[in-house]
Subunit: 253 residues, 4 copies
């Protein structure tokens, strides 16, 4: 089996390293990831400037690794089209430092890399720590291994895309795995305005989470209740039920 | 009515200007857009460095305009949270130079700005020229005006999000409007490798379009057949039908 | 006569526009300048990514203008090597928003563009407003015109490089022109530490000026005394008097 | 003794590591360097966006190390003003991958960091490999150690600034050390124009060296003749001999 790892925290981040260590011995391991942190890049790709790829010798043995001066989606494109001689069997993106829950998956470089892989017809897993403190990447990586094995035991459809969030409580307290749908989340007081020493204003994006849809069955609820959340995703943004309504409006002319 | 315009080609691009000119006299017109071209930024937001906002006096009269050194999604956040005293009634993002069809909406800054608006509960329209040559922005802007009026004639749900692509043939040849679903598209031969004068290699992302799903009812087919394509979008990436399958796999343990 | 204008405040800044307006009718006027503000870039050049050049139609008539996504030194290289069919007779860089006095010329993109020109064998003038408020660019541009005529009345050596700073007091109060040497200046309390909304620290470079050498004959003194300061510069950083000392130390081995 | 190391190839480059290894046991060793390659940045400083400083644990023992998302000159400012509790006794910048000879010192981030240090009143050494292949950083670092000891054996003036270039031939062939002046160098055919896959042109800065002044006594000649070149530098760009000429021109009015 050939597994391709990527992330948006950068090739030197502890999350991706925990992954390739946990998968040691399970096939060809390849990592193609950004040269530095590129979180919140969404599904951006780099079309107006050139990309650089660098082979990283220090990881050989464990994994064949490359760094790219681009986004996670760029990394997948480069891996599939320029670095690898044949496509991988699976792409795993993460382990992200911090959650990728609910509406926030739209901003997530981690999830976008997984989406990009599925566009190429290769199943993918995005995995994130659902908090910022006490991150036990090793344990989360083992969980990812286990879920992967379950996934690969059956015939996997090429469009399979799972978004996993692992609670950051002590792992004895984790109650199990729940298959969920995305909740909905937005942010309040999101911009902080400051004045620089030259008297010009600037803004930081920040804000407190407001969970708009977080009820039973959502990824937000699962994680809050100490379950590992596994959400199957697709990448078709069509709002099927609205097609008829819109057609009706437009025919009124 | 208060309309907020944005785009990903930059505040000085002809597409956004055509929009605010077409909507002149129809309410308060505000533009908050990137200071320079930020296409293919996907739904990226800027969290690791500060954002700057600049008021642009030269457009006053026509529109109140601000430029932001960030992505289209940043522009919407800044508009809603820092620049505007009350939210707009509608957001229009575009007119983009080039198509935003099928799977490519995932990479689109234009569409992401519209999605961001809908997350805030304000209906939004993304509009793009479905080609790169002979772009008649004025005519496309008038079409956008017309569709907007149809849309606002009824009570509009706050989550309404329309993705419009306008064919670039001579407008007498345009046959009408079709309400569509997203097709599926990928790219072949996507990376072009070159060597810089210092002997280091670099890559350009390019590639030829391969329409994987482009049949009847898709946006790709509508545009190819000289129809204006209107696709209702949502932003819930949950793959509902797969929830049962994934739960079944995981219970086999 | 062919005059090439550049700056580090960007091609759309008022200072460079005042220059080409003041020189109207005095020959072929060309402007090649950064697409946005690039101050404090020092003598940086762009070698690891490609440069883009864009022809700006809106200034035609007044001046032939190009914008470059690079530093002021990049602009000079592009002008001499790619844009112009023959070299200019003179390069004028500015009018900078803010002073370029004393040690600060080392950080100055404005001065670096002038140095780059002299390396190519073309005489150059860097001109700056010696303050940040009440900037009368038109008057400063006329002064630049006058000094240029004096300079060109004689045979000018190709390595001639003048650094001009214009006081920002009302111009009736300006007492005349002084030819000066560079003073020496450093900054105190130069860094301002702040914490971003994610709890990570960052720094702004700021600081209060401390004039270490500002006595008679310096550019600092001239400007403080309401004189226009004109400092002839060269670009040879060799410390000639020290050559003997260093040789002596090394022979002690 | 407290020695501060910096460079423009980035904190992880082999040249800076060779330096701190060669100076092991000779005092407090501190490194503050850019987080990634920033060559050819000249004397740029970062004033329009904030700087980040990160402490690097992996080098502790050998050296206390920090990385900065800024230029070499930014690193010196941060080290002196924010990171260090008291100033160092000496700053060493390098070992640069590639030469910093002649006029090219103006573009050099390596040399600019040394200049910045001298502005603060601390003597500094910039050291570079005078070629791009077969780089024996260990040997060059030992040479730097030796020169430093000679320098510190006497009372060193705080404005002492040495620019060292080490030939890249096998070190048995190196004939000794020469104290030199800067030669003069420019580049021919400097820009390479290409077309990107979207049909837009771009340029790479490259070019062949043309040594305009390379005679006896210059750094260029020393290195070509297999000598280590040591050039004392200063940072006063005033062209003293021209002061009288320029005053004469201006009085003709």
């Amino acid at each position: 089996m050939r597994i391709l790892f990527t992330n948006d925290d950068g090739i030197h981040a502890p999350g991706i390293r925990a992954l390739w260590q946990a998968f040691a011995g399970q096939g060809d391991l390849i990592a193609v990831a950004p040269d530095e942190e590129r979180s919140a890049t969404g599904h951006g790709i780099t079309v107006h400037k050139p990309l650089r790829v660098e082979s990283l010798k220090q990881y050989e043995g464990e994994v064949q690794a490359w760094s790219v001066n681009g986004t996670p989606a760029d990394c997948i494109k480069l891996a599939f089209e320029a670095i690898l001689t044949e496509p991988p069997d699976l792409v795993i993106s993460g382990i992200n430092r911090g959650p990728n829950l609910a509406t926030d998956v739209l901003y997530s470089g981690t999830v976008s890399a997984a989406v990009e892989s599925v566009i190429y017809g290769v199943p993918a897993i995005a995995i994130s720590m659902a908090g910022h403190d006490s991150l036990d990447y090793q344990w989360a990586a083992k969980t990812c291994c286990f879920i992967t094995q379950q996934l690969l035991a059956d015939t996997v459809e090429p469009h399979t895309l799972l978004n996993i969030n692992v609670p950051v409580c002590s792992h004895e307290l984790i109650k199990g795995i729940r298959v969920t749908r995305l909740g909905q989340r937005r942010y309040r007081n999101i911009l902080e305005k400051r004045i620089d020493p030259r008297g010009k204003s600037y803004y930081w994006i920040a804000g407190e989470v407001e969970d708009v849809v977080a009820g039973e069955g959502t990824d937000i609820a699962a994680v809050a209740d100490s379950y590992i959340s596994v959400t199957p995703l697709h990448f078709d943004l069509t709002d099927e039920p609205k097609i008829t309504d819109v057609a009706a409006w437009l025919q009124k002319q």
